[in-house]
Assembly symmetry: D2
């Protein structure tokens, strides 16, 4: 880090703290249309009264009185909704971590990268994120600093490894291109005690390991299948089960016994069904059933279990949109395609229509600028859109929801209250209601009229405080000029 | 094939047919010690009376009378046991099929190779083999020709694919080194409708597919896990489940509904347990539990279910033999070895002691002479021993059983009646009893005194007829001079 | 080979022999327009009188008298030119030989493949070919059988290896996918004593080795550079010199001392210059100078030395043709392209304009049908055109010459007399003149009017005998139904 | 860098400067045995009088008078020789740079690594090094800082790229494991305008490029051949010429016209001969002739040209030492080994006996601690010994010289005056003579009695100043605790 950067950081931090201490205890946002995240009719000319970090009252201006001592913020003509949530991010960014250069260069800077990502999210109105894969030794400290108010950033919940995965150094090429010591060190940081060794344990051992594992994290994600497309493609393991149902049941029980939620990574219809049967709470990319149409019974089970569906939906082409509108899906299992794109789209429309609760879920993070040049069209698989950039991918994801037939109000819920319910934090965040965290997104235009208006951000409020969006990220790492223009730095 | 070979084949075939037609309807082997395969005390000075293909009577010479018209064969001083069986062979030989050159050179000669293998087996006293993976379009026709007496050879039972496996062209290197058309053609021959596409099917679909599949074959083998060591080694998938228990149950039900037996390929303790719970009849390399000790409950379940264990045991070193004798296994799960060798050995001794029925089971076949040079110490994994050569590997396997503490009589049962019972063909073969096929191995020395005496073959009788061992294989392919010394053949 | 094929072959052979013996000693082709290959004005209403294998007289019908006893063939309205020659073929076809499957399947059938290729060539009017790389143990015997009249086919001249090359098994992938024994056997057949070991020899040793080498072959080709594009592409060695000038001089001297011609494989301007300076007689793909424009001095040296240029020119796009017509080549060395396409085109036009003698030269051969499916747009590099199919690629090559500005008459010379002169066989073939071999191509339309009329073949005459074109190839291998539809052949 | 390190650095720098400024202008080392590097008889009870940076007088104490004002250092019983020189180092260490992780982690720290290496060298008595391959943008600034006295370190001379080489990202595996942008950036830093693009240039262009190139560096090294063993090993290009003699001549002329010396990287007898003929001044690993014995004529040419031989000799086994003593080399060219080890050893003994001037030359540098674990037996090829660690490899190299038959005095010259002559800096360094730089190595034991006594360093003097050996390296990078124990650094 250069001196200039250090200074910038110092000054920004000072500014932040000052701003913080200057904030009034009571603040009232007055005159906006309020969309509370519960899906009901918006409140015109509303008032949101904030007491410290929390919401004290929400309602029409004729029903909520603003105390004299409150700071009064006039937001007439604006729209207020809950801060956006993202049910699936990778703040140590994937696919950057599949490049050795990224791992080596930033091995000692993962924390800074996580912090940067959480701040970019916040800058774009994303006030809460759920990190479902990454090294917890970098994620947890940043989560805690943000929670203690030592640094700004989206509120973080952390899962650590996708349990059962070897995260990195999985190809012969990467294994040949780095030292064994480095590979072990990196693999260990991603895997903790949740790596592929678990595959060999019996259910009892798995239960024991998973209780220990769950104690370290906020929620748990299991690699029910492998990754990378179906097994008869060249390298995919996406339809190969990794654990037995008994192992999975042991995991569900262990995580629930620790009072946390447990979610899936699945890549086939069969793995999805099993996940539902053994009692998972929610699933990522829940409509990815490979070359098999999702059975109706699976959708029924989702509804019965109150299963939440993370989406990872990208935008679709006009041709695909026409298929959706006409509800004319023609894929058959005999097509035998390697990617099952058409089944995915059909599945997606079906879960929406069935009323399965949908979640904004993106795989987003920052991205190494060098690596980004190799993915001009976004991350492999195109998940989450827009290169998987956090603060951008969420909007792409919502655009994809609109294209698949969701109403704006449904999408707003998918971005707020649904996620809070899925992660069992609805008592704290996800809607604009008295007693909840004052995470507000103030918009210049109506997101119900056009979901894309959510990008027209006037103000972001987190825990009652207005975010100094211009200052974020405080200390750019992957978005720094240095990372953008890497090369030898000549000392003076 | 050269003219000389053609002539040799023709003459041999003639000799065989002549010999066949000259054989008496009734034949009596008189004076030998008879070990009937049931594990009981041998019969001294015994008589085996054969009527056509079958045994008419067995007993001490003072209890079985030999009709006047019977051909009387004096075998005083000899020992007679049932023909050896091998519970697991690959007549299209593995690992040769992992070399592109083998596949290309012999693509149109798989039948001849299968026939050659079946004849080499028979020559060495192996009268029945169970082929658990290979292209059925080559295996079935040879099986039928042997059964119809059109060509000599070990009696064959055929499974086709290991269901769920991509058999060949699984590495980036091999995929890069052959045309796509050729790869597809070969993959298709091995996979039929039992390839990796099944992973994507739901249990109902799997049931339907497996009934169709089972109709084509004699028994079925399922790839419950992948192959090649644990997943945290560089390429292994040996502890990764491929199917859900529901899919496996559907398979078991489908195969049983077709009246056939179903067996496993497993590579982990968890996959073995599931296989037992869903009702598999038997398992290959049943003691391969990776980096986890086999639980006692699994052994109990084997005993309760009457599960049969294929072994694939190689010989062990003197040091390992000492460990077995002292019953001092020191491996712990913390060792975290990649191969779990010590757990295997411990598991092996434990299943023997528990009384689980053990089977001679080898992975053997012939081998491409060029490929053999790359495996001077036998097949990868060292299974079955002696380069995995059929007619040789069986004896190595039995030697390994002896080293692990089995008695000669137990080993003889493992090579005969146990296998017949496992495959539910005990009404026809596997013991020397009236009504059964007259498959006899006449030995010059006592196999009970030393199991290695089984190599001292005086005579092989299959279905009542003495095998012309010198003539086998009739038409050498992989064991031909041409294959041994390949190169351009100049036309005259 | 099926019986049907055998019969077909037998009958065809009989037909051929019969036809041969029935041919008159004296034959006169009367009435056609004669293009004698020397580039002069065609002779209208001409007569070619053949005596046995050779031409006895050529001229206008009023100047050549046809003896009474001569068989008189009326070809009024037709056009006669010398049989086409191809200065560079691979009868064991490249790129098929880069696929392990091809090598393994046909290891013992290379002779048959060579014969097939020579016959397909002849069928399409190509009466002489020069094979510049392939296993001589397969090429020489076929050459000799054709020369002895035992089988039909284009007249063959054989070089063996591209000296200094490791021909096959050069990639990590192929090395990993076949047995070491097989690799050695195949490498040895291609390399003889002309493989990469020569790189380590001093000039004196090289001279000795090359004299021995030259004795075995008809001409010699040296790998002056490696293959596969410039070295800063991923795998290329195309601009890397393999031999020192002294080694090259030793080679030139050795080959000339054996009375044979020596030619180059070059991939850079520098290697081309050196080749000219050390005295090579001719060069293949002589305009391939990589990312450097060919210097004028090099063209001057070509002219001074009487160097002949093999072309390997494919057809070009309309855009490229426009560039040629406008003579507006804009490539600069700063472009730094990896392929140097534009320099090639500019070089090509420049050597034509300078008057360097140009040769039809294609890299053609047959092609394994499976392999062909992986090259829908022809061989890698697109050399010679039309998938590099012999009997087709020659016409594509000539089409490319036309597009680059050569006249029809120049192209006809490039396909006939130039090649004969380059290979120093002009005393025997290459023109229609008394005393030369009677290799005639009788066409239905005028090739001078349109070079593509050369495809309108009425008759092919080789050494005085009319070729039974319908019967060729006598015994299809790569063009057989069996190769086209490979798979298991069920025995009856 | 942690604060603690910063402080340590600051204090050390202060200490250094203080020490520097306190040094007397005149210093006399009195009483030691002096070995002046010229190979003559040592001077007992000698005096070396230093005036500032240079030697003012050297001689027996009775012939050199010590001025009153001089600081008098009593070194009775010690031995003084010139500072050691290393004719070939890589301060950005090879083979570390073949690992992506090293390149990525230290991309911006190459300067610090170079400085560290130069300081470790100095600490061990190596006062001058010649870096023959590495990124000059990191090497030159450090060279200059050392020359200006801003930081301690061995005196550096810098060559930049091995001209013609692609230094890094040469394997398919590494190319697949990093971003294209990163690869280009790193390749560019190593290659400057001396990379593989030069292969395509004509001699005139090469001359122009090389003059520009030579202006930037202190000397030039040419990749006359590629690297990695002979071409018929799997990946080697070590016997493949990269440039034509004309290109090489242009290079020699260009570099000489810039007043610098030019040296070779060669891997075959033929490339060595050419290098001698075109006028190279010296060669690295000059005895590496692959599978061909070095001709006598080549040795004669070395002597005639005054060619200097860099060695890269490792220690040899007792068996090899016995072969040397018996002068019984049995290798023949028919052996056809891939490494030519025996020819190397024979060549080595022959050049020593012939009197070719030999140089200590090691390929040494520091090494990434992670990478080092993958090379427990030293760098690939085992060059220079002891993992190629600078300050250690030089002694191993000298040990190897002793084993091959060189006397201690010859070895001392190989480590001092020979190198100075080879690089044409003998007027400044390499011997202890009046007017030369006062680079002294004071030893506790006699290096003539046992060359290994050179490790018993009492004092290192560079340019008249006693080196504070304990303080070096000032700022450890690859030898830091952080590099030794890498992992996440938690911020306070």
């Amino acid at each position: 880090m250069t001196l200039r950067n250090t200074l910038k950081l110092g000054l920004a931090a000072v500014a932040l703290m000052t701003a913080g201490s200057a904030v009034a205890q009571l603040r009232a946002f007055v005159g906006a249309t309020i969309i509370d995240g519960n899906g009901g009719k918006p409140i015109s000319n509303g008032v949101i009264l904030i007491d410290g970090k929390k919401i004290k009252a929400v309602g029409a201006s004729n029903r909520v009185s603003v105390p004299q001592e409150a700071e009064r913020i006039d937001v007439a003509g604006k729209y207020i909704m809950p801060g956006i949530m993202d049910a699936n991010v990778h703040l140590v960014p994937w696919p950057s971590w599949t490049y050795i250069e990224f791992l080596a260069r930033y091995e000692n800077a993962f924390e800074s990268i996580v912090e940067e990502g959480a701040q970019i999210a916040l800058k774009h109105g994303v006030t809460t994120v759920f990190d479902s894969m990454g090294p917890i030794d970098a994620l947890i400290p940043v989560r805690d600093r943000i929670n203690r108010g030592e640094t700004p950033g989206a509120r973080m919940y952390v899962a650590g490894d996708i349990v059962g995965f070897r995260a990195v150094f999985t190809t012969p090429e990467s294994i040949a291109s780095a030292s064994k010591a480095f590979q072990k060190r990196i693999n260990d940081r991603f895997e903790l005690n949740g790596g592929p060794d678990l595959l060999d344990k019996n259910p009892e051992q798995v239960y024991t390991e998973m209780r220990k594992y769950a104690q370290q994290v906020d929620f748990v994600k299991i690699g029910v299948t492998g990754d990378g497309g179906p097994v008869n493609s060249e390298i995919g393991q996406g339809n190969v089960l990794r654990f037995s149902p008994e192992q999975l049941r042991a995991m569900v029980r262990a995580v629930h016994d620790e009072g946390k939620i447990i979610q899936t990574h699945t890549g086939s219809a069969e793995s999805l069904r099993i996940s539902l049967e053994v009692g998972f709470d929610m699933g990522q990319h829940c409509t990815m059933t490979g070359r098999t149409r999702m059975p109706d019974s699976t959708i029924q089970l989702m509804l019965k279990n109150g299963y939440f569906c993370g989406t990872q939906w990208n935008t679709i082409s006009p041709e695909e949109e026409a298929i959706v509108r006409a509800n004319r899906f023609t894929a058959t299992e005999a097509d035998n395609g390697t990617e099952g794109t058409h089944f995915s789209l059909e599945n997606e429309v079906r879960v929406i229509k069935a009323g399965v609760p949908i979640l904004v879920s993106t795989d987003a993070g920052t991205i190494d600028p060098d690596v980004a040049k190799d993915f001009p069209n976004g991350a492999p698989g195109g998940l989450g859109g827009s290169n998987g950039l956090i603060g951008e991918a969420e909007f792409t994801n919502m655009q994809g929801m609109r294209q698949r037939g969701m109403t704006s109000m449904q999408i707003i819920q998918a971005a707020t209250s649904n996620i809070a319910r899925a992660y069992k934090v609805i008592d704290q965040v996800g809607t604009l209601e008295a007693g909840k965290m004052a995470d507000l997104l103030v918009l210049d235009a109506d997101p119900v009229a056009d979901i894309d208006n959510m990008r027209k951000i006037a103000m972001v409020v987190k825990e009652g405080q207005t975010v100094n969006r211009e200052a974020l990220p405080l200390k750019p790492v992957l978005t720094s000029l240095e990372a953008m223009n890497p090369g030898p730095i000549r000392r003076k």
